[in-house]
């Protein structure tokens, strides 16, 4: 009996030690993972792809993905700015198990997915704002519109006629910027002509300056004006090389710019923070109005020109 008890005790000690060995290995595996097995998968769905316009955002996103060990999947609709395709892509990505979504919505229709709570993963929008629940790291449309209107008001008297072009009438973000511009120009008693991509050429001769708060269309308009040798001042947004060159040669009279790299970084950081349950970023990309004469100011340089890639 005594011997049996002794055997049991010894077996118990050996078993306890064996369990301790396994436990310590388990603790090491948990505490010091060699490879992150569960990398976050974040899908980024553009409304169109243009490296000049979206390249900086993408670089910022990649930097954040590197910092937070996330995996990014960049997707673009085959037809640029197609809301239905974008919707399909969003649904497909959620179905494929994406842990988070960064969406640059093509239209209100896409934003509706967020409002209808059909998107069940942490999400962020860029350019167009959905509601308070979904963060958006693009500068406030109201502010952008105000800065553009303010710049035009500084250059022209209220006798001038402004042509406000909306190349993407369904795009909420751009629409909001234009509404804001219109509001402030009306306050300053400017004459306003509103156009879309279908009729803006007809209205162009009647206007003294053009406000087009969308980068890709603005770049296209710049090349059009250059080809047509039309010297109509343009006010726009963005930080692409063409916009900077436009500012430099004064075909763009003023541009509202912000740091696209930071914008992309914050978007992915927001999702990663939510997934990792860490405090979300509190910063917002700084937004400034730039003209040719102040584009090389040290603080403006830091925002306008990408560094070190």
């Amino acid at each position: 009996m005594k011997r049996k008890l002794s055997n049991f005790m010894q077996l118990g000690i050996v078993a306890a030690l064996g369990i301790s060995v396994l436990l310590s290995i388990f603790i090491q595996e948990v505490s010091f993972p060699t490879v992150s097995e569960n990398r976050m998968e974040i899908s980024v769905i553009f409304r169109e792809w243009n490296s000049s316009t979206w390249g900086e955002i993408r670089l910022g996103m990649e930097k954040a993905a590197s910092d937070y060990q996330a995996e990014l999947r960049f997707l673009t609709p085959q037809e640029a700015n197609s809301p239905s395709e974008q919707q399909h892509l969003i649904e497909q990505e959620i179905k494929n198990g994406a842990n988070g979504l960064v969406v640059i919505p093509a239209a209100e229709q896409v934003l509706q997915l967020f409002s209808d709570n059909k998107i069940t993963v942490p999400s962020v929008t860029i350019e167009s704002h959905s509601d308070e629940q979904i963060p958006c790291f693009t500068p406030d449309s109201e502010k952008v519109g105000q800065l553009l209107a303010q710049a035009a008001a500084e250059d022209f008297t209220n006798q001038a006629t402004a042509l406000l072009i909306n190349p993407l009438p369904d795009n909420t973000g751009i629409q909001e910027r234009l509404e804001s511009v219109q509001k402030y120009l009306i306050e300053d008693h400017f004459s306003i002509l509103s156009a879309t991509s279908d009729n803006w050429t007809e209205l162009l001769p009647q206007s003294d300056f053009v406000i087009l708060p969308e980068t890709t269309s603005a770049v296209w308009l710049l090349s059009f004006l250059e080809e047509e040798q039309l010297a109509i001042p343009l006010y726009t947004v963005g930080y692409s090389q063409e916009i900077i060159n436009g500012l430099e040669n004064e075909s763009i009279r003023a541009a509202v710019i912000w740091n696209g790299y930071g914008e992309g970084y914050l978007a992915v950081q927001q999702i990663a923070s939510k997934l990792l349950k860490t405090p979300p970023p509190e910063s917002q990309p700084a937004v400034i109005l730039v003209r040719k004469e102040d584009m090389y100011e040290p603080e403006n340089q830091k925002i306008l020109f990408p560094i070190g890639h």
């Binding site: 002794s6 970084y265 830091k302």
Partner: protein, 606 residues
């Protein structure tokens, strides 16, 4: 002294050795010694390894920053040497009124193309003299008002390095390049007339940053560079800092002095190594989160703990089996010896375990075998001795009886009682025939009773019919056997001691009966009887044998014979009252023919 005290204290706490089995002793002592040794060894290893890791990490940081610093210094010195070359070999040698040394500048530019964005020379008023590669100066720029120009003109002996900025002097085909400018004061020769000017070398920012990016610091560390005023020259998160998203709090918190510092940035402790970059006065800083550094040490610690636990586990496991291997055979041997001691006849001795234990088992088995043989011999000897004793006792009876009987026959013949003499001799003959019984010790009860009858017949003749006798047996005793010649000596005592004082009316009865276990032969007389004291002394071997009239063979003799033959639970019992008579009861085992035969063969107690 202290050690002895501790040792004494430990001994008091530990259970006494004699209370522990060999297995536990081996297990505990081996495990304790090895585990203690391993604890000390692993503890020392972990400690040394942790310290070595810390030192290695510190050395790595220092080595890395030294390496980056050397590369940075080398890079900047190359640029300064280039500026010297341009100044002393090109600009000083040239007469700018005759020829602009564009080709020489272009050649030097091409040689250092990977590092440079442009080389340009300006006059005192800020107008461009030449540049390589050929870029047109933008119309609306004023080089003379720019900081690099002003500094060069103000401090003519020095090389001046700027912080990163986008160079806007030239149009680089629509590109906007981040540069770090090195400017210096130069003198330009215009046909013997010396004019003041500035040499500007724009270094590629990305090339400078590449030096820091290439250095791989442990623990997720990184390098950054600031100028004397704390303005960032290079930072891996420079774009985020410029965008206002990342705070450059670390830059504000790091001490200016060269060396290793522990600082807290946003509440997180860092190891910061600061090194001044040669001529420029820039600060090269490496930052490694201490948590990540400690992470490596923690990993080593955990690995050490796991290793230690595994070794302890293995040692305990091995010790357990080793102690079982050593003590198991000993325990089983001990058990076998105990069983043997407890009287078990067949005990298995398994020769197993170590060679010493096998030899011990073999020796004990041999010893036990030898003991068994010796014991058998002793038993045999004891049996022989007992038989001899019985034979001796038996032999003591026969001569006495024969003497007395023959004496009686002589007496009868002399008294001319020939008929009685004949009857007595006849009875004596029958008595002797039964006595002999072919040498058997166990005879049928009826023969023993018959023997008694003949004896009483003889004695009755001798004592002139002073007493009567009755001999009877219960029917269920007919086929039983008894020890030979046990009644006759008792009858003899009854006649000589019990009835001797009586003149007539003496009665001796012999009655055999049985119960389930025993055969009883009662021999009773109505003679003088005995006191209890006398009865008690009859069978007390401590009392001297009392010689008296008669055959000289006491009842003690009968009692001893019965006990020698059948065991101590058998023998004689006496019930006597003075003047009333005496009953002697012989208790014997139930022996049928088969048992008697078996006993006869064994020759003693079964």
């Amino acid at each position: 002294m202290l050690f002895k005290k501790i040792l004494r204290r430990v001994r008091q706490l530990l259970p006494p050795y004699h209370g522990l089995g060999i297995r536990i002793m081996i297990s505990i002592s081996f495990t304790a010694v090895t585990v203690t040794g391993m604890f000390l060894l692993c503890g020392m290893l972990i400690l040394r390894f942790s310290n070595a890791t810390r030192i290695l990490q510190r050395d790595t940081s220092l080595r890395m920053i030294e390496q980056v610093n050397q590369q940075m210094d080398s890079y900047l010195r190359n640029i300064m040497q280039l500026s010297d070359t341009i100044y002393y070999r090109v600009l000083k040698e040239s007469d700018f009124s005759e020829e602009i040394p564009y080709e020489a500048l272009e050649l030097l530019y091409e040689e250092n193309r990977s590092k440079l964005v442009s080389i340009s020379v300006f006059e005192e008023n800020g107008s461009l003299v030449t540049a390589a590669p050929i870029y047109s100066l933008k119309e609306d720029v004023s080089p003379g008002q720019q900081e690099w120009f002003v500094q060069a003109m103000e401090q003519i002996e020095n090389h001046h390095f700027s912080t990163p900025y986008v160079q806007n002097l030239f149009s680089y085909g629509g590109e906007h390049r981040w540069v770090i400018s090195m400017s210096r004061y130069v003198e330009l020769n215009y046909h013997g007339e010396t004019k003041r000017g500035v040499l500007l070398i724009d270094m590629s920012f990305s090339e400078l940053g590449q030096i820091c990016r290439n250095a791989d610091l442990p623990g997720g560390g990184y390098f950054y560079i600031t100028d004397r005023q704390g303005e960032i020259i290079y930072h891996p998160d420079q774009q985020l800092i410029y965008a206002g998203i990342s705070q450059n709090n670390q830059v504000k918190n790091i001490p200016d002095t060269d060396g290793i510092h522990q600082v807290k940035v946003d509440g997180i402790p860092y190891q910061a190594v600061v090194k001044t970059v040669g001529y420029t006065g820039w600060k090269l800083v490496s930052l490694i989160p201490l948590k990540n550094l400690a992470n490596d040490v923690d990993q080593y610690r955990w690995f050490g703990i796991t290793l230690l636990l595994f070794i302890v586990f293995s040692l305990t496991f091995v010790n357990m089996h080793l102690s079982e291997y050593i003590s198991g055979p000993l325990s089983r041997l001990n058990q076998a010896v105990n069983e043997l001691g407890a009287g078990k006849e067949t005990v298995e001795f398994r020769e197993e375990g170590c060679i010493e234990v096998r030899q011990l088992t073999h020796s004990i088995e041999t010893m036990v075998s030898t003991l068994r043989h010796l014991m058998d011999d002793i038993i045999q000897q004891e049996q022989n001795k007992r038989r001899l004793e019985m034979d001796v006792l038996q032999a003591q009876i026969n001569p006495h009886f024969l003497y007395n009987t023959l004496d009686s026959v002589i007496w009868l013949t002399e008294s001319e009682r020939y008929e009685d003499a004949t009857r007595m001799v006849s009875a004596l003959g029958k008595l002797f025939r039964i006595s002999l019984s072919r040498g058997k010790v166990i005879i049928p009860l009826k023969d023993e009773l018959e023997h008694a009858r003949h004896y009483l017949t003889i004695q009755q003749i001798r004592y002139k019919d002073r007493y009567e006798h009755q001999i009877s047996a219960e029917p269920d005793t007919e086929n039983l056997y008894t020890l030979k010649l046990i009644i006759q000596p008792i009858l003899e005592n009854a006649i000589y001691h019990g009835l001797a004082v009586m003149d007539e009316d003496g009665l001796i009865t012999v009655h055999a009966w049985r119960d389930d276990k025993n055969l009883y032969i009662d021999i009773q007389d109505n003679g003088a009887g005995m006191t209890q004291e006398t009865v008690d002394q009859l069978l007390d071997e401590s009392k001297p044998f009392r010689k008296s009239k008669g055959s000289g063979i006491g009842v003690r003799n009968i009692h001893q014979r019965i006990q020698l033959a059948f065991g101590t639970e058998y023998g004689l019992e006496f019930f006597s009252e003075p003047d009333e008579g005496t009953l002697v009861r012989a208790r014997l085992p139930i022996l049928d023919e088969q048992a008697a035969s078996a006993y006869q063969k064994e020759g003693g107690q079964s």
